[in-house]
C-alpha cells in the first residue's frame, strides 16, 4: 500500500521536523504528538488485516491542517504541518480492504450470517 507507506514516512517526518527546521512551543508539541499517531495508524494500515484502521488518519490530517492557524505556527512549521495534513486527508482512505482470505475478516463478527460455514 504505497499511500500508507507515504503517510508512515509523513508521520516520522513530523517527529523529526521540530529539530530539523528548528522550532519549538505549540508547533513542536503538535508535530510530536500527531506524528507518532499518524505513523502508527498508517503503518498498521499497510497490512490487510489491520487496514480498517486507516480512516483514523482523517481526523489527524484535519488537525494538522487547522492547527497552524489555530495555534499560530512559524512559517516553516505551517508549511510542514499543512502539507502532511493535506497528504493525510488525500491518502488516508486509499486502499481496498479485501479480507476474504481471512474468512471474511472483522466485519463477519458483526454479521455472523456471513461467516463461512464449517466443512
Amino acid at each position: 500500500m504505497p499511500a500508507q507507506v507515504v503517510l508512515t514516512i509523513g508521520g516520522l517526518w513530523l517527529m523529526a521536523a521540530p529539530a530539523v527546521l528548528g522550532y519549538g512551543d505549540a508547533a513542536a508539541v503538535s508535530d510530536r504528538s500527531a506524528g507518532p499517531v499518524m505513523a502508527a495508524i498508517a503503518f498498521l494500515s499497510i497490512f490487510t488485516i489491520t487496514r480498517g484502521l486507516r480512516w483514523l488518519n482523517l481526523p489527524v490530517g484535519l488537525w494538522l491542517v487547522v492547527a497552524p492557524w489555530l495555534l499560530g505556527f512559524p512559517a516553516d512549521a505551517t508549511v510542514s504541518s499543512t502539507v502532511v495534513g493535506v497528504a493525510a486527508l488525500a491518502l488516508a482512505w486509499v486502499g481496498r480492504v479485501d479480507q476474504s482470505r481471512y474468512g471474511g475478516g472483522w466485519r463477519t463478527l458483526f454479521h455472523p450470517d456471513r461467516l463461512p460455514s464449517e466443512e
Binding site: 513542536a28 504528538s33 507518532p36 499517531v37 489491520t50 482470505r101 481471512y102 474468512g103 463477519t108 461467516l115
Partner: protein
C-alpha cells in the same frame, strides 16, 4: 503433521494463523523486545551505569530517569519487559489448532500484544513533548511492539470468528472460550 495443519485452517481462510511459521517470528521478535526492555530496566534500577544512546546525547537518560517512567510502583521499562514476556509465553503455549481448541489463550495473547503497542506509542509521544528528549532504544521498542500487532491479530480474528460460529449454532460460548466444546 501436514494433515493436522490442513485440518487446522479456519473455515474460509487461506492459511492457519496458529501454525508455527506464523507464530515463531512473533515469539522471536517479542524476545528481542524483552531483551531491550530488560536492559533499559536494569539502567533504571542502577544495575548498569550508562545506557546506549547513539543519536540523542543524554536523551535516553532524561527519558529513563523521568518522573513519568516511575508513576507506577515499578518502572515503565519493567512493565514493558513483563509485557514482552507475556507476549512470548502466550504466543508459545498450545498447538497449531489453538485458535479453535484454546480461544482463551489466543485472546489473552491479543490483549498482551495490543495494549503494549498502544502504550509504547503514548510513551513515544510523551518523551519529546514532556522532556524534550528522544530515546533510541525506547523508540526501537515501540516500533517492535507496533510491528507485532498485524502479525498477531489474525489469530485473534480466527478465534473470535470461531466463537461467533459456536454462538450462531446455539452452542455454549463459555465452553467454547475454554476449548470445552
Amino acid at each position: 503433521m501436514a494433515s493436522e495443519t490442513t485440518a487446522s485452517v479456519p473455515p474460509g481462510w487461506q492459511g492457519n494463523p496458529s501454525s508455527w511459521p506464523q507464530r515463531l517470528p512473533i515469539i522471536g521478535v517479542a524476545l528481542v523486545g524483552f531483551a531491550i526492555a530488560t536492559y533499559l530496566a536494569l539502567y533504571q534500577y542502577g544495575v548498569v551505569d550508562t545506557v546506549w544512546e547513539p543519536f540523542f546525547g543524554d536523551g535516553s537518560e532524561n527519558v529513563l530517569d523521568s518522573k513519568l517512567s516511575r508513576v507506577l510502583p515499578v518502572s515503565d521499562a519493567t512493565l514493558g519487559a513483563a509485557g514482552y514476556l507475556a507476549d512470548a509465553v502466550t504466543g508459545l503455549l498450545f498447538g497449531v489448532a489453538r485458535w479453535r481448541t484454546q480461544p482463551w489463550i489466543v485472546i489473552v495473547f491479543g490483549f498482551a500484544v495490543g495494549p503494549l503497542g498502544l502504550t509504547s506509542i503514548l510513551l513515544v509521544i510523551a518523551q519529546p513533548v514532556l522532556y524534550d528528549s528522544f530515546c533510541t532504544l525506547c523508540m526501537t521498542s515501540a516500533a517492535i511492539s507496533l510491528a507485532m500487532i498485524p502479525a498477531a491479530v489474525d489469530e485473534v480474528l480466527a478465534s473470535l470468528q470461531h466463537l461467533r460460529r459456536v454462538q450462531r449454532r446455539g452452542g455454549s460460548l463459555w465452553a467454547a472460550f475454554w476449548g470445552r466444546s
